[in-house]
């Protein structure tokens, strides 16, 4: 019997595996079986349903599944790993910073805010030109601009941090 903590979209599920039975948050699901068709395809039977699930194994804990057109990015950790992670997180301090990243590679056309500006969710932060389209990147939460890491006219990679909101 082994216990895992599985995270999907910020929701945590406590999972126990026990010889073909699975318990998710205390709810027992029996008759679960799994077979691997190839490195990117798994067959999962549970509750009389059979799912063919395209799979990407990102590393030992992170998986992407496509189930009936829906893409699930899921993280599975042992209880120990989960605990270790929380300790690390607390050590780093309760950081409420939000890194605003470039969603795609492109050119920063303009930055709409200055360091220290108060911002509200929905405010335009910067304009990124990519694929010949100008994309306005907006704030997803309220806060204050702490750092601006790029200059107008600069090219950025996908996921490059453009500014930091606190």
């Amino acid at each position: 019997m082994s216990d895992y903590v599985v995270t999907f979209n910020g929701r945590k599920f406590s999972v126990s595996l026990n010889n073909g039975d699975i318990e998710i948050d205390g709810k027992k699901i029996s008759g679960v079986s799994h077979s691997k068709i190839n490195g990117n395809l798994n067959l999962l039977k549970m509750d009389n349903f059979t799912f063919e699930i395209p799979t990407i194994v990102k590393d030992k804990s992170n998986f992407t599944f496509v189930i009936n057109g829906l893409k699930y990015d899921v993280t599975a950790r042992t209880k120990l790993e989960e605990k270790a992670r929380e300790v690390m997180k607390n050590r780093a301090g309760a950081d409420s910073e939000l890194q605003v990243k470039a969603p795609m590679p492109g050119l920063i056309l303009s930055i709409k805010k200055n360091i220290g500006d108060e911002i509200h969710s929905g405010d335009s932060l910067f304009v990124l030109e990519a694929m010949k389209m100008e994309n306005e990147i907006r704030a997803t939460k309220d806060g204050k601009i702490k750092k601006i890491l790029v200059k107008e006219g600069q090219s950025v990679e996908k996921n490059q941090v453009v500014l930091i909101v606190e």
């Binding site: 799912f51 395209p54 189930i67 009936n68 057109g69 030109e129």
Partner: protein, 499 residues
């Protein structure tokens, strides 16, 4: 009949054209960039020629290179598909100057329709209703201020050389006009090499309805009825269908005749689409633009009219008369198309790039899949993120929606993030179901639920399966690493690394 056609395009549309060539017994020649050596269109064509770098400007947009390849290989025609060089009048002129047939309209028609203000002038003179606004490009910001004041806000600023939503801005009030004017001009200059913009009155909550037109080189022009493409994000269509669920037979009659009138006024030949905005309240429609090419969403028309548009394009270019008369064309049942994009809805719709690691397409009655990808295809930043068009046909709209939902669920792609989940969300939405959506549907219904809220209910359905499989795979990984550890000596550092 033409003997060999060079297809100056890539992706699903190149594949579509290759299929039409094969069915007509015409040789097909693909061209490809360095990024596309293993792409599907290269594998399917009878011949394939590399024409340059991954950047479109150095390959698919390189007119001289494409024309010199066509001459070298003895192609007697070029099919441009859509995008890239499809609506480039210079290209058409050069192709024809080299004695090669261009499968599409004349350079003059493209110029006339490509310059949106000249198109608007021509339509107005031909009795086709246009959206109120300027029929000449704006000379200055000051002129924009004056005209916008006259017709009243909100207005649309549009690129005179434009299309596809680029260089287009809605302006709600005078204080927004200056920055919108500058940005629209800039975007227009970058996208089309021409900074001219003009003003149209903003129509509140219209629908996008367009009419497929075909014309031969002898002045015969017919329509293949309408498509509705109101589900759009920033003027990029996502879902299209035919017939439109929003118009009655009387409007259908009026809008299709207006389209034929528009095509005739330009002396149009080959396939084109006349786009209209439709006001559901007044039942008025307005000419928006004429797309002088094969349209992405042509398959829905093919399914309801049971007529192959691409084969007809090739026949027309071969000098044949239209193979059908207007009376022989009618609408049967209902067709819907969903565009599957490699993009991440929750991350500002950023294009998703990567290698296709799993690809299984849906099959079954009434399902058509037009795709440009294959297992192990690379989806790169260089090209349009549209991967595949799923098209379904069924007897009624309700049945077609259900069929499409099943097709989407059974379209399995791994390796890139797709918008399949978003398409399922739209098909389930009450405003899509009752066809009350307008072109503002995505902005009004989806935008407030971004980035994650819209997914919640949708994703709850299979969350247990995902959670279970993650735990199972994790357990396998652990057993695997334990057994691997055994092959190492009891080096504690190694053990830690594997745990």
């Amino acid at each position: 009949m033409l003997k060999k056609i060079l297809i100056a395009n890539r992706g699903e549309i190149a594949v579509r054209i290759i299929k039409a060539c094969k069915e007509l017994g015409v040789k097909s020649a693909a061209v490809y960039s360095k990024a596309d050596g293993k792409s599907l269109h290269v594998k399917l064509a009878d011949e394939a020629y590399e024409i340059g770098e991954a950047e479109a400007a150095k390959s698919y947009l390189d007119m001289n290179k494409i024309i010199s390849v066509a001459k070298e290989i003895g192609a007697d025609a070029i099919h441009p598909g859509y995008g890239f060089l499809a609506e480039n009048a210079d290209f058409i002129e050069q192709v024809e100057a080299n004695g090669i047939k261009f499968i599409g309209p004349s350079a003059e028609a493209v110029k006339l329709m490509g310059e949106k203000t000249s198109a608007r002038r021509l339509m107005e003179n031909s009795g086709v209703p246009i959206v109120p606004g300027t029929i000449h490009p704006l000379k200055s910001y000051e002129e924009a201020v004056e005209f916008a004041g006259k017709i009243g806000y909100p207005i649309m600023l549009k690129a005179a050389a434009g299309g596809g939503g680029k260089g287009m801005r809605k302006v709600d009030s005078p204080d927004e006009l200056k920055s919108a004017f500058e940005r629209a001009s800039n975007e227009a200059l970058k996208a089309f090499g021409n900074a001219d913009v003009y003003i149209e009155k903003f129509i509140e909550n219209p629908k996008h309805i367009e009419v497929q037109v075909l014309a031969d080189e002898y002045g015969n022009t017919i329509h293949l009825y309408e498509r509705e493409c109101s589900v759009q994000r920033r003027h990029q269509k996502i879902i299209e269908e035919s017939p439109s669920p929003s118009i009655d037979d009387e409007t259908r009659e009026k809008i299709t005749s207006a389209a034929v009138k528009a095509a005739t006024a330009v002396g149009y030949k080959n396939a084109s689409t006349v786009e209209f905005l439709y006001d559901t309240v007044s039942k008025d429609f307005y000419f928006l633009e004429m797309n002088t090419r094969l349209q992405v969403e042509h398959p829905v028309t093919e399914l309801v009219t049971r007529f192959d548009i691409v084969k007809e394009q090739i026949k027309i270019a071969s000098g044949e008369k239209l193979s059908v008369s207007q009376e022989e064309i009618s609408q049967h049942g209902h067709a819907i198309e969903c565009r599957v994009y490699a993009e991440d809805t929750t991350n500002n719709f950023a294009p998703s790039i990567g290698k296709i690691l799993h690809h299984k397409i849906p099959v079954g009655p009434g399902i058509r899949v037009d795709t440009g990808i294959d297992l192990h295809s690379e989806v790169s930043v260089y090209y349009d993120p549209m991967l595949t068009k799923l098209i379904v046909w069924d007897a009624s709209r309700e049945e077609a929606i259900v069929r499409m939902q099943e097709a989407l669920k059974n379209y399995h792609i791994a390796g890139v993030t797709t918008n399949i989940d978003l398409l399922l969300w739209v098909l389930n939405h009450p405003k899509f179901r009752d066809a009350s959506f307008t072109i503002n549907f995505i902005a009004e219904e989806l935008q407030p639920l971004l980035p994650e809220k819209w997914k919640k209910e949708l994703y709850d359905e299979y969350v247990e399966a995902a959670v279970a499989l993650a735990a199972i795979l994790k357990e396998e990984k652990r057993h695997l690493s334990v057994s691997q550890n055994k092959t190492f000596t009891s080096n504690s550092w190694e053990l830690m690394k594997y745990e």
